[in-house]
Symmetry: none
Subunit: 204 residues, 4 copies
DNA sequence: GATGAATGAGGATTCATTCAT
DNA sequence: CATGAATGAATCCTCATTCAT
C-alpha cells in the first residue's frame, strides 16, 4: 500500500465522498463505503476527519466557498446592467447546482436534523451568497429598473425559484417532454419578469 | 391492547409512518420503530406491506391523491378569475406542503434512487396535478391575461418556485429575519407577476 | 438452527455472560463474545436485552436477589445465638462471593461509572443485605454480647472486611503460603472478636 | 509546544496516564487519549514504553515503591508503641488508597487476567509492604499486647479489612448516611480491637 | 391475522500497534 | 527523538427481512 501525503488522501476522501453523495444520496453515505471506494481502511478516514459529520461539514464549507467565489466573480463581471447581472447570478446558481450536484445536495438538500449538528456559522455563509442577489435588487430599485417593496423577502423568493429548479432537475423530476435548457430559461425569464418594474398602466 | 381489523391496522401503520416521517425524517424511518409505535410486531407490518418500499409507495400514492383532490377542489372553487385561480392553486400547493410535510417529504424530497425503485406510474400521477396549473395558464392566454410562449415550460417554472419555497421552509432554511407568511406572499406575488401580461408599449 | 423458547435463550445468555465475566472480567465482556459462545448471532441477544447495560443489570439484580435470599435463610437458621448468626452471615457472604464470583464481580467490583448508569434502586437492595448484619449487631448490643457505639458504621466496617477478603481471594492475590480456608477463618475470627463485648479491665 | 527531554516525556506520560486513570478508570484508558493529552503523537509513547501493559506495569511499580516508602516512614516514626504503629500503618494504607487512587486502582483493583500478564516479581514486592504489618504484630505478641496464633494469616486478614475499606470508598459504595472519616475510624478500631490481647479471665 | 425467533449485513467509532521516514 | 500514515480487529448497536408456528 503506497503512502500518500496527508493532504492527498484528504482530498481523495472528499472527492470520493462527493461522488458517492451524488450517486447514493446522503442517506446512503457511509464511512465504510468511502473507504472501500478509495481502497483504504475505514480507520484511515478518521485520521483526517474527526467523524462523519466533520467530513460532511468540510464538504459543505468547501461548497459554500466555491459557490460564493463563483457568484462574486459573476457579479464583478456584470457590473454594468442590473438585469444582466441578476440573470447571470441566477444562471450561475443553477449551473452550480447542476455541475456540483454533490456539493449542492449536502449544502442545501439534506434534512434539518443533520443541519442542526453543524455550526450555524457555516450556514451564515450561505446567506452571504444571497446578499449578492439582494445588492443587485437594491441597485435596481434605485435605478427604477426593479420593483420590490422588501428586497429581503424578494431575494428569498428568487432563491426559492432557483432552489426549486435545481431540486427538480437533480431529482430528475422534470417532465420528460420539456428540454432542460428550455426549462431553465423559463425559470430565469420568470424571475426577471417578476422583479422588473412595470408601469402600472400606460398613461392616458 | 385492542386488536384492529385488517384495514384498520393498515391505516394505523400508514398514519404512524407519516407521524414518524414528520418527526424523524425518512432517513430515520424504520420498520421496527413503526411496529413499536403501534404496539404490533414488526412482522405484522409485512402482512400488509410487502416491504418498506411498498409502504412508502402507498404513502406516496395517498399523498398524491390528496394533493390532486385538494387542488381539484380549489380549481373548481375559483372558476371565475384566472389570476385568482392561479394564486389559489399556488397557495394550495404550498399549504399542502407545509401541512402534510410528511407526505411532501416522501413525495418530493427524497433522493432519486429511492424514487427509481417505484413504478413510474405513481409519479406520472404527480404530473396530473401540474395540469391544473397548465389549464389555468392556457385559459389566461386565451383571455389575454397571461403571457407565455410555452405553458408546459411555464407551468414547470411555476412549480419550481412553489417546490423551492416549500423545500426552504421545510428545511427551515429561511432567513430568520423574514416572516414565513410574508415570504409566501412574496413568492405568490412573484409567480403571478411573472406570468401576467404586460403591455410592452410604454407611453406615447 | 433449532429455535429455543425465549426464556431458554435468555437464561443461556445470562449464564454465558456470567461465565465470561468470571473468565475475562467485565472490561473484556462483549456482546459478540457472548453471541459466539452460545452460537447465536449477536443480534439475537438484543431480542432479550435492550443493550449491554440491561443485560448486566439483569445479572446484578439476579445476584442481589440470590445473595439476599441466601442470607435471609442463614439468618433464620441461626436465630438462637447472636455470635453464631453473625459468623454464619459472614461466612455466607464470603462463600457467596467465591461460589458466585461471576455475580460478585458485576455486583461489587466494577467501576463506578458503570454503576452510575444503573437505577439506584438496584443498589439499594444491596444495602438491605447489610441490614441483616446490622439487626444482628443490634440484638447483640441489647444482650450485652456486642459492643458498638454506631451499628451503622460497624456494619459497614464488617462489610469492608468481608468485601476485602472476597476481593483478595477472587483476584488471587492472597499470599500463596497461606491456606485459603485458614485465611477465611482468620477473617471471621477477627470480625467476631472486633465486635465482641470486652470488660474494659477485670475488677479490683 | 515545547519538547521535553526523554526522561521528562516519560514522566509526563506516566503522570498523564495516572490522571486519566483516576478520571476515567482503567477500562477507559487508551494510548491515544494519553497522547492527545500530552500533545504528542501516540507513536511517541512507544518510544518509552513497549506497550500499554508495560506502561501500566511501570505505574504499578512506581505505586508499589511509593506505598512501601510511605509505610516504611510511618513504621520508623512510630517505633515506640505497637498499637500506635499498627494503627498508623493501617491509616497510612487507607490514606494512600484514597489519595493515590490512580495507583491503587491499577495496583490492586483490576482484573486478575491483567495481573497475569505482569512479571510476578512486581507483585511479590507488594507483599513486602505487608511484612511491616506482620513485624508489628510479631513484636506485639512478644510484648503480650497482641494475640494471634498465626501472624501471617492475621496480617492478611488485616489487609482484607483495609483493602475492603479502600475498595468500598473508591467505588463510592459506602452508605451515604455514614461519614467517610467515621467509617475509616471504625475500620481502624475494629482492626486494633481484633488483634488486641484480651484476658479471657472474666471477674471472679 | 399475528408473532417470536433468528439472522446477515451494515452502521459509526475506537483501539493498540507497526513501520518507514 | 518523533511522527504521520496506515490498518485489522474489535466495540455496540440497528436494520430489513424471513420463516415456522
Amino acid at each position: 500500500m503506497e503512502r500518500k501525503s496527508g493532504a492527498d488522501l484528504k482530498r481523495m476522501i472528499m472527492d470520493t465522498t462527493r461522488k458517492l453523495l451524488v450517486k447514493d444520496g446522503y442517506g446512503n453515505l457511509s464511512m465504510r463505503k468511502i473507504a472501500r471506494e478509495i481502497n483504504y481502511s475505514a480507520t484511515s478516514i478518521y485520521l483526517h476527519f474527526k467523524n462523519k459529520d466533520a467530513l460532511c461539514h468540510a464538504l459543505i464549507d468547501e461548497g459554500m466557498a466555491m459557490l460564493l467565489s463563483q457568484q462574486n466573480k459573476i457579479a464583478r463581471a456584470n457590473k454594468g446592467d442590473v438585469f444582466q447581472r441578476l440573470r447571470a447570478l441566477c444562471e450561475g446558481y443553477i449551473s452550480f447546482g447542476l455541475k456540483y450536484s454533490e456539493y449542492y445536495e449536502i449544502m442545501f438538500l439534506i434534512h434539518p436534523d443533520f443541519e442542526n449538528r453543524f455550526p450555524k456559522a457555516s450556514y451564515r455563509r450561505a446567506r452571504r451568497n444571497l446578499d449578492l442577489f439582494k445588492m443587485t435588487l437594491d441597485e435596481g430599485i434605485k435605478n427604477g429598473q426593479i420593483d420590490s417593496l422588501d428586497t429581503y423577502a424578494t431575494t428569498n423568493a428568487v432563491w426559492a425559484s432557483l432552489h426549486g429548479a435545481v431540486s427538480i432537475l437533480l431529482a430528475r423530476r422534470l417532465d420528460f417532454r420539456i428540454d432542460q435548457n428550455h426549462f431553465i430559461n423559463n425559470v430565469l425569464d420568470q424571475i426577471v419578469r417578476s422583479v422588473a418594474y412595470k408601469p402600472t398602466t400606460s398613461v392616458l
